[in-house]
């Protein structure tokens, strides 16, 4: 019994090591994620901008939350995922993990930038300042620099294996910063309010405020997955260009004229 479970786990794990398998499966996953993202983000935007009530203190600037929180949550989740991919890459030298780690970095960086930008724009009418050097904001800025660091390592080191090792190491070490971001609102006095969603508690907001937010968070996660698979497939095509299956894939698409 357990022997067959172990062997089926091994087979499952082994599949993840195959770029071709990942490429083909991701086409299916992408399709689903793309639809979920489209539906959730369009619903969330309309709901958040038009229908959610305004905050009694902040007025309509509160609506920035529907971008700010999903972007910030994603920027952190993306980094944690990269750290896991980095660990897998360091321990098992799995090609797909290298690809995912490399491709997630620019997406995470763009959402981290969005979180910082919307935070600054939201801070102006709410706190009276674009920026303060407090724990939450500073640790979020460090996250952006960690993303830049990983992107720089990936592009500066010519050898793919060395680049992947360096990026993986930085991703794993940098995960400390995620803990600091999470705890920053508890450990230090800060202008930033505590987490909007907690898994263990009911949200402090009324449902007509947090429901569109939840929809947006789901939408942004799906969008991240969609974009990550797009980029990963591109990267796999380039890395595996000497293999027969890529040759056949490109040959088939160029003969169909669908480039």
């Amino acid at each position: 019994m357990s022997g067959s479970a172990v062997s089926s786990f091994k087979r499952w794990f082994h599949q993840w090591g195959s770029p071709k398998w990942f490429y083909e499966r991701s086409l299916v996953w992408s399709k689903w994620l793309g639809w979920i993202a489209l539906i959730c983000i369009s619903t969330g935007l309309v709901w958040g901008l038009l229908f959610a009530p305004s905050d009694y203190q902040q007025g309509h600037s509160f609506r920035i939350i529907y971008l700010h929180v999903p972007a910030a949550v994603l920027a952190q989740s993306c980094y944690i995922m990269m750290a896991v991919a980095g660990l897998v890459s360091l321990v098992w030298k799995m090609k797909v993990a290298d690809v995912v780690l490399k491709c997630a970095a620019p997406i995470g960086a763009s959402f981290c930038f969005l979180a910082l930008f919307t935070g600054a724009v939201w801070g102006k009418p709410t706190w009276g300042t674009w920026w303060i050097w407090d724990a939450r904001l500073t640790s979020m800025l460090i996250l952006l620099f960690l993303y830049f660091g990983i992107i720089a390592l990936e592009s500066a080191i010519q050898d793919k294996t060395t680049a992947a090792r360096a990026a993986a190491l930085l991703a794993v070490v940098g995960v400390v910063n995620i803990v600091i971001i999470k705890k920053s609102v508890e450990w230090w006095n800060t202008l930033h309010q505590p987490a909007t969603f907690k898994l263990t508690e009911k949200p402090a907001m009324p449902p007509e405020m947090w429901m569109p937010l939840l929809v947006m968070v789901i939408g942004i996660y799906a969008y991240f997955g969609y974009s990550l698979f797009l980029r990963s497939r591109n990267e796999i095509l380039q890395r595996e260009r000497r293999t027969l299956w890529v040759r056949e894939l490109i040959g088939a698409s160029s003969s169909r004229g669908t480039v």
Partner: protein, 81 residues
């Protein structure tokens, strides 16, 4: 609905600048993550298609010339160039 008119919606109770600035950058980030990988994909397809065409032409020519000079046993090496 939280607004009574379209101009109310644009104005956002005096916070229109902040809200719309945030949302336009948000849309830009979303578009970047969609369009850039797609453009990259078609560039890769084009580049690889050209490369494979060139390689297969070269290897055919190599094979033909090698077949004359060395005989057929070296034909396998043509792939490795």
């Amino acid at each position: 609905m939280a607004f009574s008119s379209f101009s109310d919606f644009i104005h956002m109770g005096g916070h229109g600048v902040y809200v719309w600035l945030s949302y336009s950058v948000g849309v830009a980030v979303l578009l970047y993550n969609l369009l850039w990988p797609r453009m990259h994909k078609s560039a890769i397809y084009k580049k690889l298609a050209q490369q494979f065409k060139r390689e297969s032409r070269n290897s055919r020519e190599n094979m033909n010339s090698k077949a004359v000079i060395d005989g057929p046993e070296n034909m396998n090496n043509a792939e490795s160039s």
